[in-house]
């Protein structure tokens, strides 16, 4: 791969800016109705799912009850997936702030997820999106649990990191909530040298426990209790719905940054970075998953991770139509554009996790 020179990158950046402006100029009624309708669909799914689960056990018994409950779980987990991915993630990125809507905006929107919205905005929107895959800067790279590059020192715990990965997938929202909070630092007092957080540790803890408590109360206390005689069954169903959501979201997100071709960067390499360099790094550090419209919506268009990283505040519904244009632009400038089927990308992630669980000297040749 040839690295494009400064001149080429600045032309490349200008073309991308141009693409972005074309989209921004056409935002309107259609986009506002899209997100409003999607939220209504998601809320209806949530409501129907919860009602179906309750009715299943209150009015039926045996296998039939569990069959109806399974349908309810499917609705509830789809609702949670839509809420976290296509709605929450994108609204909290400020993609719909132009609507001047009182609830659909990055200032007040909150999601059905253990992560506190303010903490998430701080770490995800800023750290992860600005310093994507920069080792030591982007804590989303391996979430402090997985070793995905030889640039990170090997520790014995990396030997079983495949199982850590499985656990992280099932508990993804908690892993992210805890990690976004700089958990290690807040709870165990490890300090990062150049930390200049505009928020106190007390506030971070308060936010974390406040939101965590709210989530646990809602799904595991409130909804089970209002259907008292079948509280345990409802609790079980809610756990399953949350785990399904976690596995789905975790998997999509891992495929976005930890595939075989996803590059990592050193802190030194991003000094004096130009807009073109930044765009270039975002493309190298991200990977797409190909699929149909439904798949893209259910993945919050994080299946168009490259487009999302180039334009995090452009409404995600435009990523699909931007994707072929950007792929073409990349081929013109000889920049690798990493995309593939879900199975291919997921297999690469698993392979990468297994490969780097070994220290460098024990690793076989990659491939």
């Amino acid at each position: 791969m040839n690295t494009p020179n400064k001149d080429q990158l600045s032309k490349f950046a200008a073309e991308l800016d141009n693409l972005r402006n074309t989209v921004i100029d056409q935002l309107g009624e259609k986009d506002a109705r899209y997100i409003i309708r999607l939220i209504a669909i998601q809320r209806s799914l949530d409501l129907c799912g919860r009602i179906a689960i309750a009715i299943a056990f209150l009015a039926f018994s045996g296998t039939l009850a569990w069959l109806i409950a399974a349908l309810g779980i499917l609705l509830l987990s789809s609702s949670k997936i839509l809420d976290n991915m296509e709605i929450g993630h994108n609204v909290m990125h400020g993609q719909y702030d132009w609507m001047n809507h009182p609830t659909i905006n990055s200032r007040v929107f909150d999601w059905d997820n253990a992560g506190h919205n303010e903490s998430w905005k701080r770490y995800h929107n800023h750290e992860h999106h600005t310093y994507t895959n920069v080792l030591g800067k982007d804590r989303d790279f391996g979430y402090g649990l997985l070793r995905l590059s030889n640039d990170l020192p090997w520790k014995p715990k990396n030997l079983w990191q495949f199982f850590t990965f499985i656990n992280l997938s099932a508990l993804f929202e908690w892993g992210v909530a805890y990690h976004e909070l700089a958990g290690e630092r807040v709870f165990f007092g490890k300090k990062k040298e150049d930390s200049n957080l505009p928020i106190s540790d007390q506030q971070l803890k308060k936010d974390f426990f406040g939101k965590a408590g709210k989530q646990l109360f809602k799904d595991y206390v409130f909804f089970p209790l209002i259907c008292w005689p079948v509280a345990l069954q409802i609790l079980i169903c809610n756990v399953i719905a949350n785990v399904i959501r976690n596995i789905w979201t975790g998997t999509i997100i891992f495929c976005g940054h930890f595939t075989e071709g996803a590059h990592t960067f050193s802190e030194d390499s991003i000094k004096n970075e130009t807009r073109g360099d930044w765009y270039y790094r975002q493309i190298l550090g991200s990977s797409n998953i190909s699929g149909g419209k439904f798949f893209h919506i259910m993945s919050g268009h994080l299946s168009c991770q490259i487009e999302h990283h180039l334009f995090p505040d452009v409404p995600s519904s435009y990523y699909r139509q931007l994707s072929p244009k950007i792929a073409e632009l990349c081929s013109t400038y000889d920049i690798p554009y990493n995309t593939g089927r879900f199975s291919k990308q997921y297999f690469e992630v698993v392979k990468r996790i297994l490969y780097y669980s070994l220290p460098e000297k024990w690793q076989p040749a990659y491939g």
């Binding site: 935002l27 209504a40 809320r43 909290m92 132009w98 200032r107 303010e118 929107n125």
Partner: protein, 368 residues
């Protein structure tokens, strides 16, 4: 018991509405919009002098229960998927509004504005205009212990005063009212008929064509009002300089601050908005009013709002400082800002802005 009072009393009910009912209702093809009340436009008419009056019937008039003459109301309209909100003075009398369940707002159409050009005759019958609760402290004191009420209005600053005068007429206090009304043209001025009707009921009222009389001067008042300043309440509404000169003159005459009530009528109604080039305005300093803390600070040229606030010793919430993390986002009530990231100039109405990438290009009001 109606929906809004249930909402206030039962948090669970409110949670249910906010989470499920309202978002679903908004997506249906109705005129329901989250955070605003539904209306239907029943009349649009010209008042002369370039002023238009819009009559809005409320679907649920309960928000008018506490309406007081002189208050203002926020109107919202969607244009290209974006909500445009502006505050207007209510010109209908409070009694009429409560009895018939409608309000009237009057405004000068601003050809360069985002909202007023959309409120024309074609709006009649439309359900596109939404409103918020009426608001404002520029109202008649509950117990008019003073002998006389003196109203001084300039231009479209007459609108809240008109509502107050009608309130006074309703309580048979109109003969104790004096109005000085500064207008451009002494023959054709807004609300001529309604003012004549009030005059017939006993209002002392004087039209002051500024071409002949000039702007406010104390003689204008003393000439027609032999009552001692100490025995009057004063109600001022118009541009900032009218309020400043008149208040100062009255204070010099021995009036107490508690006797003077005023409403700045700057944006959005009277402002003569020419689209000023953002570059020119970015070169000068502007004042930023903070409504919640009731303070203000100076925002110098070419400096983001976040930095200028911090330079003044304020500590707004912030994060990345480059417009990425959306943590310093706050509500702007009015005034235009330049987005330093996109180079675009905002609307002058209420909307969310990121302090770290916004620069004042005119005086602003922020909800912090």
């Amino acid at each position: 018991m109606n929906l809004s009072s249930l909402n206030e009393k039962l948090p669970l009910f409110k949670g249910l509405n906010d989470t499920y009912i309202y978002p679903i209702m908004e997506a249906l093809p109705t005129s329901f919009r989250i955070g605003m009340k539904q209306t239907i436009v029943t009349d649009v008419r010209s008042e002369g002098g370039g002023i238009t009056t819009l009559r809005l019937h409320l679907k649920n008039a309960s928000i008018l229960r506490h309406l007081k003459a002189g208050q203002h109301i926020e109107l919202g309209l969607e244009s290209k998927g974006k909500r445009i909100c502006r505050t207007f003075s209510i010109s209908s009398s409070a009694q009429q509004s409560k009895e018939f369940g409608y309000i009237e707002v009057s405004f000068k159409v601003n050809a360069n504005g985002a909202l007023t050009p959309l409120l024309n005759e074609q709006t009649v019958g439309s359900k596109a205009v939404h409103v918020n609760k009426p608001n404002g402290n520029f109202t008649l004191p509950l117990h008019p212990a003073k002998e006389k009420s003196v109203f001084i209005a300039a231009g479209s600053g007459i609108t809240p005063i008109l509502a107050m005068l009608e309130e006074a007429a309703f309580y048979n206090l109109i003969s104790q009212c004096l109005l000085l009304y500064y207008v451009k043209d002494g023959e054709h001025y807004p609300f001529k008929e309604r003012l004549s009707a009030l005059h017939a009921k006993g209002l002392s009222f004087k039209v002051m064509p500024t071409k002949q009389t000039g702007h406010f001067a104390l003689e204008h008042l003393t000439h027609d009002n032999p009552t001692s300043t100490k025995r009057c309440n004063f109600f001022l509404c118009g541009p900032g300089n009218l309020i400043e000169t008149a208040s100062q003159a009255l204070l010099d005459q021995g009036a107490d601050r508690s006797q003077i009530f005023h409403e700045h009528f700057g944006l959005p109604i009277t402002a003569q908005h020419k689209p000023i080039p953002a570059e020119d305005n970015a070169m000068s300093a502007h004042t930023v009013f903070l409504t919640r803390s009731n303070s203000s600070f100076n925002s110098p040229a070419n400096t983001s709002l976040l930095i200028s606030a911090e330079n003044e010793g304020l500590t707004p919430n912030f994060g990345c400082r480059i417009g990425a993390c959306h943590q310093c986002i706050c509500r702007k009530n009015s005034g235009r800002v330049l987005n330093l990231k996109t180079g675009k100039v905002s609307d002058n109405g209420p909307e969310d802005i990121q302090l770290c990438i916004s620069q004042a290009i005119e005086d602003l009001s922020l909800d912090i």
